[in-house]
């Protein structure tokens, strides 16, 4: 069977499964819609959290980014796992004890202020939309490559499926589909990794396989040799970027992870405080399985890519080649070129691929109209070639998706990866869309504009809000700002500089008041958002280490925003009176697990 048949089969099967689960678990009350009735077991919640957490960026882009950045890619690995430690010890158990539906609920009640609640809603919407755009894009990319439909159509199909189960099941439906999606995605991620590890090292454990065999024989060592030969920065060394900036990015990702509303809300779904703690453990364990495998895949993929494309003759294919002195171009390169994620410009006119550091041409590939082909059958580009020796453009996002093909694994493995990528993107999108809809129906309407809205009316509003959110997300996915993972990285900076300090202070200080919290959140949001807008949209030409604020780039600026938030909160808070005695009692009450059931009644 061909890859396309296998992919169609897997996609239909998995989508059917998700739809069936959504139907069985449809929600009938707001309590079920928002927090799955608080009846999810810690193990199931851990799995759902892991699926919710691991997005298109983790599944599709992360290994690719690490493959190209080497050690520099570690910021994502540490950042996106280290945040769970903060979540587990600083936030999750206490927010579960507080026992309401949303993060703005906590912030609004704790600071006795609808202004602060409203600010939290704005931040939640901002963060969730930034993040969800990347997911929809991921769905589009997978569909585009494996089912040969345009990226836009892929986005539309993804929207339809998320819409169906999110509208029907709310948090309850999403939780149990996410459990299924975790199983699909982890299986799809591990199978090719195990195959590759066996091939390269003889070990079935990729985490060990990529460095196994000592300082000379291991794949990692061979890759470093190849890097030196072709002039790249050796893989395990830090190329460019200062330590301070790496530190800031890692910290921003860690704190941002802990401050993401769609992750925090998952811990509202378990029955008890101690379940929130064990649930965090399960979640990180399930996440770690993928996150320790990704760097192995990155090394295998990069080594494979460099070995198979360098000096290959573009016009020669393996099947027809009978001259052993000519290296043929692998077929997968052509199929990825067809959808524009690989491009080649023959600078020296020798018909063979020169792969070297630096961009081959300016910007993303832009192909000449009418499918014009060059001398060697390549698609002609209109981009300006650069001075660099490099002739090949490889989109980082394809590393995981193309990996099974690059390594010549069976067709069903290739298709499995496609289904896994879809599971990762859909599960995260659903979780985020739920936050968006809850923010609107619960935080804005029920707790703000329309306090007398009936349970039924609120549920209807939540469902309508999801529809609206999906449409906006799809539109952002069709025309996204930047790479999938980079878009996501910005959501972290914003979450780090807004939610995290406000929630932590709300739990660990009885003295913090609404004036301090509001001032901190506004400072964090404005500072971080303006740094990102400044460097990414207004003056992209200034986005270099020389012009960065405090030597920290836009990806790490959330750490500075977070510090500012803490400082401003504490300073402004000290100038105003402490919160009321009943609020202070509430803070003391959420610090002890006993009585969680009582606090949960709404």
């Amino acid at each position: 069977m061909t890859v396309q048949v296998w992919t169609t089969l897997f996609v239909v099967l998995t989508f059917g499964l998700y739809t069936a689960i959504a139907w069985w678990t449809r929600a009938s009350s707001t309590r079920e819609f928002y927090v799955a009735g608080k009846g999810v077991s810690p193990l199931a919640n851990g799995m759902a959290t892991a699926a919710d957490w691991m997005s298109a960026a983790s599944f599709i882009s992360m290994a690719g980014i690490i493959a190209f950045a080497g050690y520099g890619g570690s910021v994502y690995l540490m950042g996106w796992t280290g945040g769970y430690v903060l979540l587990a010890v600083l936030l999750a158990p206490f927010l579960r004890k507080f026992g309401k539906f949303t993060v703005p609920d906590f912030v609004g009640d704790r600071y006795e202020s609808n202004t602060v609640r409203f600010l939290a809603v704005v931040c939640a919407l901002f963060v969730s939309f930034t993040y969800v755009a990347g997911q929809m894009r991921g769905v589009g990319v997978v569909f585009g490559r494996f089912l040969e439909v345009p990226v836009e159509t892929g986005v539309l199909v993804g929207m339809a499926i998320v819409l169906f189960y999110a509208v029907l099941g709310g948090m309850k439906g999403i939780t149990y589909t996410q459990v299924a999606q975790y199983c699909v995605l982890i299986f799809a991620f591990m199978v090719p990794a195990i195959f590759l590890s066996l091939r390269f090292s003889g070990l079935p454990i990729p985490q060990l396989g990529f460095g196994w065999g000592g300082e000379e024989a291991s794949v990692l060592a061979k890759l470093e040799g190849l890097d030196r030969e072709l002039g790249f920065t050796p893989y395990t060394e830090q190329g460019g970027g200062n330590v301070l900036n790496l530190f800031a990015i890692t910290l921003a990702l860690m704190v941002g992870t802990a401050g993401l509303p769609h992750v925090i809300v998952r811990f509202f779904t378990v029955p008890k405080v101690r379940d929130a703690r064990t649930s965090a453990l399960w979640a990180l364990l399930f996440i770690a399985l993928l996150y320790t495998t990704a760097p192995a895949i990155a090394v295998f993929a990069r080594y494979n890519l460099m070995e198979s494309v360098r000096d290959a003759s573009w016009s020669v294919s393996a099947e027809t080649n009978d001259d052993p002195s000519i290296k043929p171009l692998p077929e997968w390169v052509r199929s990825w070129e067809d959808i524009g994620l690989i491009a080649w410009v023959d600078k020296d006119g020798d018909g063979a691929v020169d792969y070297a550091p630096g961009a081959a041409f300016v910007g993303k590939p832009s192909f000449a109209p009418d499918e014009t082909r060059g001398d060697h059958g390549e698609r002609v580009l209109v981009n300006e070639p650069t001075e660099a020796k490099n002739e090949l453009y490889v989109d980082r996002d394809i590393m995981v998706l193309a990996n099974p093909e690059i390594s010549g694994l069976p067709n069903w493995v290739v298709a499995l990866v496609a289904a896994g990528g879809l599971a990762a993107a859909l599960s995260t999108a659903a979780g985020l869309l739920l936050v968006v809809s809850t923010s609107i129906s619960h935080d804005l309407l029920k707790r703000g504009l329309l306090p007398n809205i009936s349970e039924k009316g609120e549920l209807r509003a939540a469902r309508i809000a999801i529809v609206g959110a999906v449409v906006v997300a799809g539109w952002l996915g069709i025309d996204p700002p930047g790479f999938v993972a980079e878009v996501v990285a910005f959501a972290f900076g914003l979450a780090a500089s807004t939610f995290f300090p406000v929630i932590v202070l709300g739990i660990f200080s009885t003295r913090m008041n609404k004036q301090g919290a509001a001032a901190g959140m506004i400072t964090g949001l404005l500072f971080t958002a303006s740094a990102i807008v400044w460097f990414r949209f207004l003056h992209p030409e200034l986005d270099t280490a020389k012009h960065w604020w405090f030597g920290i780039g836009p990806k790490g600026i959330g750490s500075v925003g977070m510090l500012l938030n803490f400082v401003v909160s504490v300073a402004v808070g000290a100038c105003f009176p402490a919160p009321s005695a009943s609020t202070q009692d509430m803070v003391r009450a959420i610090r002890v697990p006993k009585g969680a059931g009582a606090a949960a009644s709404h």
């Binding site: 570690s74 460095g211 300082e215 000379e216 530190f247 008890k272 453990l281 364990l285 002890v592």
Partner: protein, 88 residues
């Protein structure tokens, strides 16, 4: 009652502080700040420089262990202070 809760909370804060210290040293410390120095050591039998390995593998394993220790230790603290939840 109040006093007992305050004592419980001090013990929770101490545990949290210690675990966050480990978190900082294993992740941002070994994986970023002292990565260069640790790279001088290669893990025997492999091609992994230690700093690089901490950044891409070791820190993640430590993070899992931290949360495991927290969940376990907190349950003991809850029991000691008599603030554990009732089984419903």
């Amino acid at each position: 009652m109040q006093q007992q809760h305050a004592r419980y909370w001090r013990r929770v804060l101490r545990l949290t502080g210690v675990l966050l210290g480990v978190w900082f040293v294993a992740g941002l410390g070994a994986g970023v700040l002292f990565k260069e120095q640790l790279d001088a050591i290669t893990i025997p039998g492999t091609g992994f420089p230690l700093g690089f390995w901490m950044a891409q593998q070791g820190s993640i394993l430590v993070f899992v262990l931290i949360i495991w220790a927290y969940a376990r230790k907190m349950r003991a603290l809850d029991r000691d202070a008599g603030v554990e939840e009732d089984d419903q």
